[in-house]
Structure formats: C-alpha cells, structure tokens
C-alpha cells in the first residue's frame, strides 16, 4: 500500500516516518507498529531522563503513541514525524509536571522554608566529590553526577539538551518541538550547556 494523499510541494513527505504515518491514516496498523518500534526506546529514554521514573516513562510513552494514533484521521504532514512526536511528548511532560507540582502543593503547602529545604542534598554530594576527576569515578557515580547536573536545568532546557544530544535535532526542529524560535533555542541551549559545564567541569578529562 502506498500513501496516495501527497500534498504537492510538501517537503516533509521525504521523511519515511511521515510516509508511515500517512499509511496509518489509511488504516494500516502495521505501519503504526513500525513507528512504535522505531521510536519506543527514544521516547522512553527522554521521559526517563526528564522525570527520573522508569515506570512513569513507559506510561507516558504509551500515552504519546496513543495520542498520535487517535490523531491519525486528521493527520497532515506539517513537520517531520519526530518533531511532532516529541512535541506531544513535551506537552505530556509539562502536564505531568503541573499535576505533580499541584499534588506537592496540596501535600506540603506552598511554603518552601524549613530545615529540609535549606540545602539540597545533591548539592552536598556534588561538593563532596567535586575534587574527583572523572577517571576516579565509576560509571554509576558519573551517571549520578550527570543526572544531578541535568536536574539543575529547567524542563525546557533539559528537553532541548536531550533533543539536541540524543535526537541530533537542529535548532529549527527543537524550536518547532518546544513551540519557540530558533534564536530562543540558541540561548536556551547556551545557558543549559554553560550550567552543565559549571556543574561537571571537575569531572571532565581535558
């Protein structure tokens, strides 16, 4: 079966995943299974790195795919498939964060003063091992430090970093995913990477 609903001059049609999605639109569930197979690890990895909760990462990844499937009948290729997919994933992260924050506020009230909030524990850990070069840390410790460094970024910066690093996305595609401009992405990533460098410079081997 081939996708017959091609829009003349649409540059996104050269994206093979867009072609698969057009097949899904025509009722081809096997094409959708192929898309799930292609993207499942990548989407789960993004969720897992942002939310630090593997089981929630799978749930959200499944919800991402279900949302795409539900939108199949009205699908028109207006971006690369991956851009669309990660845009949905980013919205889900924002919603989840909002719900979590709301639950936290209900649980603890809005005040953030108190003995537990005076100094984040990860800060202590980072300072304790600040003098250790990367070669002296084992893989687990290094991963822990990187995770903590990533936690110093806000959600938008983190998503931009992950898309840039692991999805190899251009600034234009990241901008489309995060609903912002390429110039904003440029400064978002510059700030994020500067933060990461400050946090991790003691662990890099130069």
């Amino acid at each position: 079966m081939s996708a017959s609903t091609q829009i003349p001059g649409n540059s996104y049609l050269s994206d093979p995943d867009v072609q698969l999605m057009l097949l899904v639109k025509q009722g081809d569930d096997e094409a959708f299974a192929e898309l799930v197979e292609t993207y499942q690890d990548r989407v789960i990895s993004i969720f897992s790195n942002i939310l630090d909760d593997p089981s929630m990462a799978e749930d959200l990844a499944q919800e991402t795919f279900l949302r795409i499937y539900r939108a199949r009948s009205g699908y028109e290729p207006q971006a690369k498939f991956s851009t669309w997919l990660f845009h949905i994933a980013n919205n889900l992260v924002s919603n989840t964060r909002r719900k979590k924050k709301y639950r936290k506020e209900i649980q603890f009230g809005t005040g953030d003063t108190g003995p537990l909030s005076t100094r984040p524990p990860e800060k202590n850990l980072a300072e304790k091992s600040a003098l250790m070069p990367a070669r002296m840390l084992d893989k687990d410790e290094l991963q822990k430090m990187i995770r903590q460094a990533m936690e110093t970024l806000n959600d938008k910066q983190r998503m931009a970093v992950l898309l840039n690093k692991f999805e190899d996305m251009s600034y234009a595609d990241i901008a489309e995913t995060l609903e912002t401009t390429p110039t904003a992405v440029k400064s978002l990533l510059a700030r994020a990477r500067e933060n990461l460098r400050e946090y991790l410079e003691n662990y890099v081997q130069m």
């Binding site: 569930d29 959708f32 299974a33 799930v36 197979e37 499942q40 690890d41 789960i44 990895s45 897992s48 790195n49 593997p54 990462a57 799978e58 990844a61 499944q62 795919f65 279900l66 499937y69 539900r70 990367a134 893989k139 290094l142 991963q143 990187i146 995770r147 990533m150 970093v161 840039n164 690093k165 692991f166 251009s170 600034y171 390429p182 440029k186 400064s187 990533l189 510059a190 700030r191 990477r193 500067e194 990461l196 460098r197 991790l200 410079e201 662990y203 890099v204 081997q205 130069m206």
Partner: protein, 173 residues
C-alpha cells in the same frame, strides 16, 4: 599577548555552543575560528564545553520493556474496537431507541410517583370544606334546629313521604 587572555562576551560564549552544533553560518563560524586562533580563554572555554557535552554520552539510555510495543498495540486495538462498535448504524439506532425508551419510562415513572404522592398527602382545610359544602351551606339552619332527632322523625313520618316531589306543585296546593 594581551589578546590571548582577553575575557569573552556572553554573546561570544553563546555562539560557541551554536558553533559546536554547526548552527552558525559561514561568516559567523569564521569569526569564531579567528577568535579561537587568537584567544586562549576562548580555546579553553570551547574545549571544556565540548568535553562536558561528550560526558553526557554516559547518560543511561533506557530501553522499552519487551512487552511495551505489544501492550501499546493491544491498547489501541481495544480502543479501535470500541470506536468501530460506536460507528455501526445499528448501534447508533439502538442507542437512539434506548434513549427514547428510557425517557418515556422516566416520564411515566414521574407521573405515577406524582399521583401516589398527591394521594398520600393529608387533605388541606380547603379540601375538607369543599367536600362538606352541602352541609356548610345550611349550617345556620342546622344549628337553629339544634338536634337532628326531629329531622329524623320528620323524614320517617307519613306526611313527609306523601309530600309532592316538585316544589311548584307543592306551592300550587
């Protein structure tokens, strides 16, 4: 020599990241390359940015569980089945008839409930007066007589039973 250690502007620093990502145009790239050639601080900055970026390769790449794809497909097939059932014309018609039937039953039930409620309520003072209107109309006369014993006797008397039924005939006599 002074140029080699000159501090970088924030604009230059932010362009470093874009340079590493290959997001600068040719002219901007050349500017950065010239800066790197002349400035030691810039070189160090660029190297540490690149090294930190490489360090992120150590981040764990989580894999989906083996059943993830199967579970996702099963969930959407289930959704699909629900949707396709709802799309059937017979389902739509049954739904319409069901709604209509339910509405009728509800209206009837409300009627019956209303009737039962009205019957079970104690009569008001006005209802009692309306029901006993005939008695109330002549209440003054009944009170003047004082006792019904006389009336009973009168009703049983022969004269009373012989009286003409029509009042006009009685007057003519």
């Amino acid at each position: 020599m002074v140029d080699k250690l000159i501090r970088l502007t924030s604009e230059q620093r932010s362009s470093f990241v874009a340079y590493l990502d290959g997001e600068l145009d040719e002219q901007q790239s050349r500017q950065i390359e010239n800066l790197l050639a002349q400035n030691e601080v810039a070189r160090h900055d660029m190297e540490s940015l690149a090294a930190t970026w490489e360090l992120l390769d150590e981040m764990p790449r989580v894999k989906a569980s083996e059943s993830f794809s199967q579970k996702t497909m099963e969930t959407l097939q289930l959704e699909n089945r629900e949707f396709s059932l709802q799309d059937q014309p017979w389902f739509q018609q049954s739904k319409r008839i069901g709604t209509l039937l339910l509405g009728t039953v509800l209206v009837l039930a409300c009627g019956v409930l209303g009737f039962v409620a009205a019957r079970s309520l104690p009569p008001s003072a006005e209802d009692v007066m309306i029901r006993n209107y005939a008695l109330l109309k002549h209440l003054d006369q009944y009170q003047e007589i004082g006792s019904t014993e006389f009336l009973d006797r009168l009703q049983r008397s022969v004269e009373w039973s012989r009286r003409p039924a029509n009042p006009r005939e009685r007057d003519a006599r």
